[in-house]
Amino acid sequence: MTTHSWRAPARKTALWSTLAALGVLAVTSAIVWTWRNDLPDPLATHWGGRSSVPDDFMSLDLLLFSTALMVVLFCGLFGAIAWFWGATAATRRMVAASTVWTGGLGGALLLLTAGSQRGLQDAHQATVRGWAVTAAIVVPLVPAIAAALLVPGDPHEPAGGPVAADAPRLGLTGDERAVWIRRADGGPGLVVGGIAVVVTTLLAVLLRQWALLVVPVLLVVLFTTMFAFTVRVDATGLTVRSLVGWPGTHVPADEVQRASVTEVNAVRQFGGWGWRLGRGGRVGVVLRSGTGLLVERSGGRSLVVTVDDAVTGAALLNTLADRTRN
């Protein structure tokens, strides 16, 4: 297997974001530990659905251990994604944000669980407020976004050789200029997203935990950014951008090694719909199964977009990429 230049920054990202997450966990664990004499033993650690009566208890040691275990497992998972699949900056950003958010969530849940029981004699009296749980989910998003912004973008890395000779081309004369613009939208992801929003809304309403409505709100934001993209091929290369402006990505024409039409199976290759990560670090903007535009670029990176008439887009991209090689 060839060593690509993305491996060093990918490892760096995995390392520092994990250290940050573990740092947050260590600090919050230390704070909670200093409270140990004020805390009931065992602690309430779970509150049953509709009632605000705790229904699960554990010792402080076990709470600290299980929280640490959860954070370490997720850091390991995200770190592995960056380590093996972190070929593009977008993936590394996602890993940094997810890792830091997990550390923040673990720390916030510790502070919330223990903090609400300081001074109590019996953990059965412990209550937890919906807004506090909401804050534990939302507040760590701030350092998570900061972490994503700290990850540097992809360096410009022109492909060495010519564009693949067997890839499709478009007959353009020397002076001719061309652009191909298509919208990629719809697909089953929208239905899945709709169901998720309805279910989480119903859950919040049935449990009368109004603060939990933040979950469907976050989901709506996520789904509106994910389910309509503009795909454009012009002299600068390929640009894929969500209709709301973010997320998006750009493949410069001089980094293109081959553009072609590929058959996409959304679930099998990408595990779902939206902005996805597939095997080998391939980035997929996947809104449906079927034919899509596959762009292989320098540094072992690749991108798939499920868009109609991909054959025209691929042919134009190869043709315009040829022009950058002279």
Binding site: A178, I181, R232
Partner: protein, 118 residues
């Protein structure tokens, strides 16, 4: 859809753009309700002045292919779904006839323009 222009061509650039939209509509690549790209986006991608694209869009509006709506941009009208197959058929016949009569593309274009202006 694919937009291509040839700055070395005889037709003005805005007319080339408008022709592309008509071809796309005839091929059913543009359907009623579809939105054309923002004029600025198309102009940037083709390295054109935005006024060239706007002029093309205005011509397309005058021809009834699109509607220009503030905030929604250029939207393809229902009229764009007009069945073009009789025209396509007649064109094939016209081109065949012109070829067998040894009439050049330029001459045929002049004849066609004259016939259309009658």
């Amino acid at each position: 859809m694919l937009w291509r222009i040839d700055p070395a061509g005889d037709e003005p650039l805005y007319a080339q753009l408008a022709a592309q939209a008509h071809i796309a509509a005839a091929r059913n690549e543009l359907r009623p309700g579809d939105r054309l790209p923002a004029a600025r986006e198309l102009a940037d991608s083709l390295d054109l002045n935005v006024h060239t694209v706007l002029k093309a869009y205005q011509q397309l509006r005058d021809e009834g292919l699109i509607e220009l709506r503030r905030g929604r941009g250029a939207v393809v009208t229902a009229r764009a779904a007009t069945d073009m197959s009789p025209v396509q058929k007649a064109l094939v016949a016209l081109v065949d006839a012109a070829r067998s009569a040894n009439i050049s593309t330029e001459t045929l274009t002049v004849l066609l323009k004259e016939a259309m202006s009658r």
